[in-house]
């Protein structure tokens, strides 16, 4: 069992959540309550990481973050290190490939809040922020929790993008999924097997939790 890699994966998943959840809640709330021409394109763009091969995303991210791109050079000047092949680079990649996993459950949850609930809140004189904090977020929490759980598990497991953008540097970009690949090549089946089992269990728990949460949202919707 490679604890360095497991710890690194946990850090990556937490950093991703920290950066992604506020963004996802804002985008999901906006998409849930507004209708406009071209909305399908925005939603499609956000869902793209679901169908795009990870290597395609990895390739574009590598080109965008590498030392030869303007963005890569700007970040290097700012932070003193390149974004590609670094932990911060993995966070950027992770936020992007997790967008659909975070936005979609939250959007569904906001969509499930009946419009008259929002109108009632307005009639009671609540400001937008008060209504969001006291009424909408509490109602949407199963979606938000589901998004958090899916993002966390998906970050632990992502392989292609992480390998291309991060390389395979122990303690810096070698996540647990990459460590399994590396240990297999090292004929270290004990470690590869233990880490695979760990990811299997985490994935199973994730699916069970998010199905349970979806169920809860559905039941709530059926109530009068």
């Amino acid at each position: 069992m490679d604890w360095t890699a497991i710890l690194l994966s946990a850090q990556l998943a937490l950093a991703t959540l920290l950066a992604l959840l506020p963004l996802a809640i804002a985008v999901a709330r906006w998409l849930a309550v507004t209708a406009f021409a071209g909305k399908a394109w925005i939603e499609g763009l956000l869902a793209l990481p679901l169908v795009l091969p990870p290597t395609v995303l990895g390739y574009y991210l590598l080109v965008a973050m590498g030392g030869q791109s303007a963005f890569g050079q700007w970040f290097e000047a700012l932070a003193g290190q390149t974004l590609a092949f670094s932990f911060p680079g993995l966070v950027v990649a992770s936020v992007i490939f997790n967008l659909p996993f975070a936005v979609q459950p939250i959007q569904r949850a906001f969509e499930g809040i009946a419009p008259d609930v929002r109108e009632a809140a307005q009639c009671c004189g609540l400001t937008f922020w008060q209504a969001l904090r006291m009424i909408e977020l509490p109602l949407a929490w199963p979606g938000i929790l589901s998004a958090a759980v899916m993002t966390f598990a998906h970050t632990l497991g992502e392989f292609g993008v992480v390998l291309m953008v991060g390389g395979n540097i122990p303690g810096e970009t070698q996540t647990v999924a990459i460590a399994i690949y590396d240990r297999t090549q090292a004929f270290d089946h004990a470690a590869a097997g233990a880490m695979s089992l760990l990811l299997l269990v985490i994935s199973l728990v994730t699916i069970a939790v998010s199905y349970g949460l979806a169920d809860r949202l559905l039941k709530r919707r059926r109530l009068p």
Partner: protein
């Protein structure tokens, strides 16, 4: 978003830590042992990443933070040196050698002239045969050269399984899913692998024209730990370990 990123830069703080070393995959067992010995001797640590030399060359050119690069082929080192990314033109540290490897239970008879491979191919007994990717893994290029040299390339090519690097090719060759492969001696000799099958050395003249001249180089921003490890690898105890893993060393008489 940017705040989280800069925080992540602070937290990860990699550069004060151990030296980052990129190493050709044929060194996986030998260099792991040497890094442990270096740590025992000096108290300094290195972090090893293994992969194909071509992939590392691309990553270093893109700004990967490695401090020392041990290539399986000096051409890649010279390419980085020409691009101004290295401290100098590096040092030749070993000559790599190839074996033909057959896992237990394989119908392939192993020998240095590839007579057994020729016979097994003719009899249709080879379903899968592993080499590393000739495009960016030097051992894959050398394996292809050896097969071309033996006149077996056309016969074997539709049976090839291609490892991303030499140690993945070794894994394909030894794990039992293939009938064998042409892989590094340095991996085949390691205890974990040697027990999985039999192997025979391919004589140097069978590699084709280009020997596997393995060169290492310090990158421009290498720190003190990386420099110490670079010196350690050129000293007698490290050379003895490399010899034990089957490498020929520059300056040693040919065996």
């Amino acid at each position: 978003m940017l705040a989280v990123l800069l925080l992540a830069v602070e937290v990860s703080g990699a550069w004060a830590g151990p030296a980052l070393v990129a190493a050709a995959a044929d060194l996986r067992f030998a260099l792991t042992e040497l890094a442990q010995r270096f740590q025992d001797d000096t108290g300094q640590t290195v972090k090893l990443s293994f992969g194909s030399s071509g992939t590392f060359t691309h990553q270093i050119a893109q700004g990967a933070p490695f401090e020392l690069f041990l290539s399986a082929d000096e051409g890649y080192v010279f390419r980085l040196a020409d691009a101004g990314l290295t401290a100098d033109r590096g040092t030749l540290y070993a000559i790599g050698r190839l074996v033909v490897f057959a896992p237990h239970g394989s119908p392939l008879a192993v020998d240095g002239a590839l007579v057994g491979l020729r016979a097994a191919l003719a009899e249709g007994k080879i379903k899968r045969f592993a080499i590393a990717n000739p495009e960016h893994a030097p051992y894959g290029r050398a394996a292809r050269d050896a097969l071309v040299h033996a006149g077996l390339w056309d016969a074997v090519s539709r049976h090839l399984v291609i490892g991303e690097n030499a140690s993945q090719a070794m894994q394909f060759a030894a794990a039992g899913a293939s009938q064998g492969g042409i892989v590094p001696l340095s991996l085949s000799k390691a205890g974990e692998v040697a027990k999985l099958g039999r192997f025979a050395l391919l004589p140097a003249e069978r590699h084709g024209e280009e020997p596997l001249r393995q060169r290492m180089v310090l990158l421009r921003h290498a720190g003190d730990t990386a420099r110490a490890f670079y010196a350690f690898l050129q000293a007698a105890p490290a050379r003895a370990v490399l010899t034990r893993y089957g490498f020929l060393l520059p300056g040693d008489p040919a065996p």
